[in-house]
Structures are given as structure tokens and as C-alpha cells.
């Protein structure tokens, strides 16, 4: 997270050259001002994101204003806590997914980390997934509050490069930023960031 916005970067983990990279979607938009990155059971994550999308649009309909990022995160965690909505659609197991929810509201940019228990924490920087321990400690060293978006992109990608087994290419990483609105980078933009590494 920076003063101007939040940067999310994910490793796509393309397991076969036959796999279409653009179909692996691990960063999704929830609303114009909120996006989220996921790690874990991606199918479960899609349910949570869909619920968040409905909640944010309901809020816009009822109150004519964008939902704050914390409220959006709370709405996702309420669902995670109940294992689903209502009596019939609720699951008999928790949602097996951690999310990084990045957004921009009247309180500025913010980043929240959720886990299957339904708890959420606000963070300045966070890594989730299989290489998260190493990535977290690298983040602790490299993060400071005065970063610009460009610097944040570089740091995020360099940390990904450290924990990834394959080489970083525009096809096996995804970057998105929320500053102040959500934008998923095109392969060309990702290429430009890789070139700066």
C-alpha cells in the first residue's frame, strides 16, 4: 500500500504450456474502487467475490455512495464465518481461501487480509500463499510508507521473482492497482514493470 494507492501482484502458477494463461484469474474486481487477490481454493474465492460484488452494489443502490473497503471486507468475512448464505446454500465446511482486499475510499487507500476463519486484519503490506513466509520477511525489509506506485510495483514483482520457481513473464504474473480506481494491468504494462526489475 502506498499514499496514492495499493498494488496487488499474483503468481499465476501456469502448470502446463497448454494452459491458457488469461483464463487463470486470481485478481478480481469487486467494485470500481475495490479489488481482491486470492490464494487457496479458487472456486471458493469466486463465491466470496460474487457475494462482495452484490453487497457493494446493494450499498450503492440503497445509499447512493460507494461502500467503504472495511465494510466490504466485513461483508466477505460475514459470509466466510457462516460458511455461506442462509440455510440451504450454506456449506458444511469453511471457505478454503485467503484474500487480499485492496481498495480506495474516503479514508484513503487500504489493504485488508482475510483468512478462512472470517477474521480480517488491515495491513500496509502482506504476502499470502505458498511462498508467503519468505515473501513477508522480504516485504518487512523493503516496505516503507513513502513508496510511490512505480516503486511498489517493482518491489512486489521482485519479491514474486524470489519465491517463484519459473522466470517472471507477462503470462505467469498478474498485477493490478487501485489508485483510486481498480485497474488490471495488460500484458504490455506487466512487461514494462518486468523490464524495470
Amino acid at each position: 500500500m502506498t499514499k496514492d494507492g495499493v498494488v496487488l501482484a499474483v503468481e499465476k502458477r501456469v502448470t502446463s504450456p497448454l494452459l491458457e494463461p488469461s483464463s487463470v484469474e486470481k485478481i478480481m474486481e469487486i467494485d470500481e474502487h475495490v479489488g481482491c487477490a486470492m490464494s487457496g481454493l479458487i472456486a471458493d474465492a469466486r463465491t466470496l467475490v460474487e457475494h462482495a460484488r452484490v453487497e457493494t452494489q446493494n450499498h450503492r443502490f440503497s445509499y447512493g455512495e460507494p461502500m467503504t473497503v472495511e465494510s466490504t471486507t466485513q461483508a466477505i468475512c460475514d459470509l466466510a464465518l457462516r460458511f455461506g448464505e442462509g440455510d440451504e446454500e450454506s456449506m458444511s465446511r469453511p471457505f478454503g481461501v485467503s484474500l487480499l482486499i485492496a481498495g480506495h475510499d474516503e479514508n484513503g487507500p487500504s489493504l485488508y487480509y482475510t483468512d478462512p476463519s472470517g477474521t480480517f486484519w488491515q495491513c500496509n503490506a502482506k504476502a499470502i500463499g505458498s511462498g508467503s513466509e519468505g515473501a513477508d520477511s522480504s516485504l518487512q525489509d523493503q516496505y516503507n510508507k513513502e513508496l510511490t506506485i512505480a516503486e511498489a510495483e517493482t518491489i512486489a514483482l521482485s519479491i514474486l521473482k524470489q519465491v517463484m520457481e519459473e522466470k517472471v513473464t507477462p503470462n505467469n504474473v498478474d498485477i493490478a492497482k487501485v489508485s483510486p480506481s481498480y485497474h488490471l494491468y495488460t500484458p504490455a504494462e506487466v512487461e514494462a514493470v518486468i523490464a524495470r526489475l
Partner: protein, 282 residues
């Protein structure tokens, strides 16, 4: 005997036409369902209060619906709001009436919903109380869920949705919402009975509205909402000038409107804290 004499005037039972109660029942039902909406919209169109169903050429439906299905009452009163650069004045008179009678002289039509949002409603007080209670409860829930008080534009949208929710059995409430928006500028939202709303620089609703609006139009000269680029509708008047204007405007309405009383009791305004100015009753 007299009874026998009376009985002889009526045709014998076998010759009177048999009433088809089932058909009559069906017609009665239709009248009942649409009566509130139809009669309410007629009332709003005429702009005056009607406390009884209007007379209409006899037809099966309306004749049946006259059977005490009129569920609204107009308790009269007028509400006015004016938005300024950093303030908003919301005023309402305090007379509650029914027909030609006064029920009380000291009834406030204004409800403070949030620290920067105040609603004034005129019409049927039963519906108004329910509506204001509903909105206040929703505001409290919002406060707990989102850790902040509701802004005036958010309350405006909520009120619109609440009113439209009862599109087919409306709240007989003519509302004016006033307050400060997120930038601290005054905002006034004006509603009809089913939730259509618009942000304006000033508004009057209620029995005296037709007397007051032309005066406000003359004094405040709001730019058309159709202009591009959009122009600010807030008035350049100072707060005390706006309060004086509101008092004058109520004085004018009182001259000719029996439902409106002079010297409004509550004129809440503010951007720091809400003050209620109590003026002597007339």
C-alpha cells in the same frame, strides 16, 4: 297497523331483483385495493387537502370503495428548506389539524436523523411518524455497520428507496430533506409521495407550498438543473438572511393558508451542532 302499511309499499320479495353477492364481492375487492393509491394521487394532483373521497359519477367500483376505505388524513402544515454555501435552514410550522379543527399548536414536523441531516415532512402524521422512525432506525444500523454516521446524500437515496418500497400503498408524506453534504455545502432534497427526488437549492412542501415556492423562486433565483456544466444551486445569502427569508415566507403563507401557522417553532440549522430556535407561538 303502521308496520303493515309500510310493508305494503315494498314489492313482494319474489319480485325484487336478486342481488348477485359474489359479483358484488369481487367488485368491492377491486375498489378496496386501488382506492388508497387512486385517491392519494388525486389529492396530490389537486394540491389541496381532501379529507374525504372525492365525489364521482356512480359506478359499481367507486360506490363500493366508499365503504370507509379511505385510510389517509391530511394533518396539514408546511415545510421549507434553503441550502447555503456552508449551512442549511430547515423549517416547519407546528400546527397539527384535521379538517377545520386544530389538534395541537405545538407539534414538530422535523426529525434530526444524523448530525448533518434533518428531515421535515408534512401530510398524514401517522405515516410521517412511521417513516421518520424507520429512517432513524436505519441510520442507527448504518452507524453500527459502517462506523460512521449517514451522510445527507446517502439518507436522500435511502428515503427515496423507502418511499418507493411502498409504491402501491404509499406513505402520505411530503418530505424535504436538508443538511450538509460531504464537502460541507448545504443540500436540500425534495420528494414526492412515492420517492421521486431531486437535489435543489431550496424547497417547500405541504399545504402552503404553492404559496411559498413562487416567493422563494423570486428571491433565490436558482439556476436551471438542465444547464451544462451544472451550476451550484446553493444560495449566496448569509445564514441570518436565509433565516429571515424563511420567517417572512411563513408569515406570507399564514395569511392565506389555514393549515399553516406563523412563526415556525423549530428552525434547525448548522454545520457544527444543531440548534432549535424557539419563537413565541402565534
Amino acid at each position: 297497523s303502521a308496520q303493515n302499511g309500510l310493508r305494503s309499499l315494498r314489492p313482494p320479495r319474489s319480485r325484487r331483483p336478486r342481488r348477485n353477492l359474489i359479483k358484488e364481492g369481487r367488485k368491492r375487492d377491486t375498489g378496496h385495493r386501488t382506492a388508497p393509491l387512486r385517491l392519494l394521487l388525486q389529492a396530490t394532483n389537486s394540491g389541496d387537502s381532501t379529507t374525504s373521497p372525492p365525489s364521482s359519477p356512480p359506478s359499481p367500483t367507486t360506490a363500493m370503495s366508499r365503504r370507509g376505505d379511505w385510510v389517509y388524513e391530511n394533518n396539514g402544515g408546511t415545510c421549507v428548506a434553503i441550502a447555503g454555501a456552508d449551512y442549511c435552514v430547515v423549517a416547519a410550522d407546528t400546527r397539527l389539524s384535521v379538517g377545520y379543527n386544530i389538534l395541537t399548536r405545538e407539534h414538530s414536523k422535523i426529525c434530526e436523523l444524523a448530525d448533518k441531516c434533518v428531515i421535515a415532512s408534512s401530510g398524514f402524521q401517522g405515516d410521517i411518524k412511521a417513516l421518520q422512525k424507520n429512517l432513524a432506525a436505519r441510520e442507527l444500523l448504518y452507524q453500527h455497520q459502517h462506523n460512521k454516521r449517514m451522510s445527507c446524500p446517502a439518507m436522500a437515496q435511502l428515503l427515496s428507496n423507502t418511499l418507493y418500497y411502498k409504491r402501491f400503498f404509499p406513505y402520505y408524506a411530503f418530505n424535504v430533506l436538508g443538511g450538509l453534504d460531504s464537502e460541507g455545502k448545504g443540500c436540500v432534497y425534495s420528494y414526492d409521495a412515492v420517492g421521486s427526488y431531486e437535489r435543489t437549492g431550496y424547497s417547500a412542501q405541504g399545504s402552503g407550498s404553492t404559496l411559498i415556492m413562487p416567493v422563494l423562486d423570486n428571491q433565490l433565483k436558482s439556476p436551471s438543473p438542465l444547464l451544462v456544466p451544472a451550476r451550484d444551486a446553493v444560495t449566496p445569502l448569509s445564514e441570518s438572511e436565509a433565516v429571515d427569508l424563511v420567517k417572512d415566507v411563513f408569515a406570507s403563507a399564514t395569511e392565506r393558508d389555514i393549515y399553516t401557522v406563523c412563526f415556525p417553532l423549530s428552525v434547525p440549522r448548522d454545520h457544527r451542532l444543531l440548534l432549535f430556535i424557539h419563537l413565541p407561538l402565534y
